[in-house]
């Protein structure tokens, strides 16, 4: 189907009858898309590697609008141009070949910004995707460390948490996969040299890190969320300024792109209902 086929988009609308109409105000999932897109602002000509649906929508939106030089892959081995729908095949031409081996070369060169989805993240940005419990015999084995250690010490790294809770935003992660500021500092200058932890985006708010303390700082709350709610859902002390802004509203054009072009099927609501 064409990306702006209203009929098809309407049929594929997400739960609760939320269709593709642009006159409905932005909802929470769409605020999260904007916060994820904003994480890539200013990146220029680097590979954006979003894990999760809402980061993927955000990265495509960012490239389509304010960050046109970003590179995106088809999820296999190709860098592709264009702006295509979640679940559909890319509509743009192949720009280059990027097999996994070349991804490592690219990420070690620094020309990448990853947004991963941790099971746990702490105040310094240590992130766990490997396992919960004891490493020798975990309570819950997850994916494994994947490329998180190399990512964090090589290029900009952000995280997306679809369900903000004290279990995820925890005092201490069970294993350090994505390296946090304190762990990197302890490992020495080779670890911190190219480190750039950028954003953490959750279904409640957006965060960066306080430059002085390197602790997670509340950057903005999504519309309808209070600072107190964020604090209550976070298992460690956040750095919070006097005046916490609200995550910016999507423009009318951004809302149209999200609803009619990038996610007409409403896949975002599977992550943030």
């Amino acid at each position: 189907m064409t990306a702006v086929d209203d009929t098809a988009a309407g049929q594929d609308a997400g739960p609760a009858g939320r269709g593709a109409r642009a006159d409905r105000p932005a909802d929470r999932a769409e605020a999260c898309v904007i916060a994820c897109a904003e994480a890539f602002r200013g990146d220029g000509e680097v590979l954006a590697s979003p894990f999760g649906t809402i980061p993927a929508i955000g990265a495509r939106l960012a490239r389509h609008t304010f960050e046109p030089d970003l590179l995106l892959t088809d999820g296999e081995a190709h860098v592709v141009a264009g702006t295509w729908a979640i679940g559909a095949a890319p509509d743009g031409p192949v720009e280059s070949w990027l097999p996994f081996s070349a991804v490592f070369d690219l990420l070690w060169s620094g020309k990448r910004h990853v947004m991963m989805t941790p099971a746990q993240v702490d105040a310094f940005g240590n992130a766990n995707i490997s396992a919960i419990g004891d490493h020798a015999r975990p309570k819950a084995q997850l994916l494994g460390v994947r490329g998180a250690p190399g990512n964090a010490v090589s290029h900009p790294t952000s995280y997306w948490v679809a369900r903000h809770s004290p279990r995820v935003f925890t005092k201490a992660v069970d294993m350090v996969c994505g390296v946090g500021w304190d762990s990197a500092a302890a490992a020495g200058p080779a670890a911190t040299r190219y480190m750039a932890l950028r954003r953490v985006v959750s279904n409640l708010a957006s965060f960066d890190y306080d430059p002085a303390s390197r602790r997670m700082r509340l950057l903005s709350v999504h519309p309808g969320v209070t600072v107190a709610e964020v604090v209550a859902a976070t298992g460690f002390d956040l750095v919070i300024g006097d005046d916490v802004p609200v995550t910016r509203e999507p423009t009318a054009e951004e809302l149209r792109l999200i609803r009619e072009v990038i996610d007409p099927g409403g896949a975002r609501y599977a992550e943030v209902p």
């Binding site: 490493h135 994947r146 250690p149 350090v176």
Partner: protein, 283 residues
């Protein structure tokens, strides 16, 4: 060679590298031959998918050297999870880029390669043998990823000739060439063995990623990557993968799955999945 010949060349306790990535182009017919064999105590090096889950479920694995285990469309492999959560296997967990460097070091006959990946992470905390190295030019302290020398490598390619030149026709070669070059003996299974001239005739020579110089034996194994993907020859068999994952639910379910699909020969396996597809299709 046959898949069982390959299993016959392996020995219990060996370090075996398995090509592919996640649930993509895995040498599953060779893995199934190991399941049927008496081999035990293997150290497996893999960008893990159902190869790891099956070998864990069958009790073949002593130690896993890995960065992740995933079935792609099903994020976590329940057989691997069970083995870990029951403490049945030892692991060396590395950043997935470090695995590449370990294979590269082995292929280049180097003791290690330096990297930033792993610094400050569980990789440094949970691998007691892992050392750092100081840059002799600048002074930075980097991780020295040790060579991952393999006794044997098992990979599955789309095409190969009889001498072992092997070709991928899908989007990604993964690290199959490195696995072969890092191994004392490399066994390539493929969808079809073809005359050498047909390789370069089918696609650009850069797709003939593996040289016979690194290959010990070739097995023609049509549908040999099943149920993982082997595009363009075939996609992942998602229904079968779901059945495989669901068989982890309890020991009875696993026994039933094993008896139906895994206890016989490769021909029996292929017949059983064809029968399953016919039954499913008839519904």
């Amino acid at each position: 060679m046959t898949a069982d010949d390959v299993a016959g060349r392996l020995r219990s306790g060996m370090t075996v590298g398995i090509g592919g990535w996640g649930s993509r182009r895995k040498p599953m017919s060779l893995v199934r031959a190991i399941l049927r064999s008496g081999l035990t105590g293997l150290t497996v090096v893999s960008y893990g998918g159902p190869d790891v889950g099956l070998l864990c479920a069958a009790g073949k694995v002593r130690k896993l050297v890995f960065g992740f285990v995933s079935l792609d469309s099903i994020p976590l492999d329940p057989h691997f999870r069970a083995a870990r959560q029951q403490g049945r296997i030892e692991v060396a967990e590395y950043d997935e880029g470090m695995l590449k460097l370990g294979l590269q070091a082995a292929a280049s006959r180097l003791p290690f390669l330096p990297t930033r990946a792993g610094l400050g992470s569980l990789v440094a905390d949970t691998n007691p043998g892992l050392r750092t190295v100081t840059d002799p030019y600048g002074g930075e302290e980097l991780i020295a990823m040790p060579a991952l020398r393999l006794d044997a490598a098992l990979v599955h390619m789309n095409r190969a000739d009889e001498r072992g030149n092997a070709q991928f026709l899908g989007p990604d070669p993964y690290f199959d060439d490195l696995f072969c070059a890092a191994a004392d003996a490399a066994y390539v299974s493929c969808e079809r063995v073809v005359p050498t001239a047909q390789l370069a005739a089918a696609a650009h020579p850069s797709t003939i990623r593996i040289s016979r110089a690194h290959v010990t034996g070739v097995v023609e194994a049509p549908n040999g990557a099943h149920f993982t993907s082997c595009v363009p020859d075939y996609a992942r068999d998602e229904a079968f993968q779901r059945a495989y994952a669901q068989a982890a639910a309890d020991p009875q379910a696993w026994t039933a799955f094993r008896e139906r699909f895994l206890d016989g020969s490769e021909d029996d396996y292929q017949a059983a999945i064809t029968e399953l597809a016919v039954t499913e299709g008839a519904r």
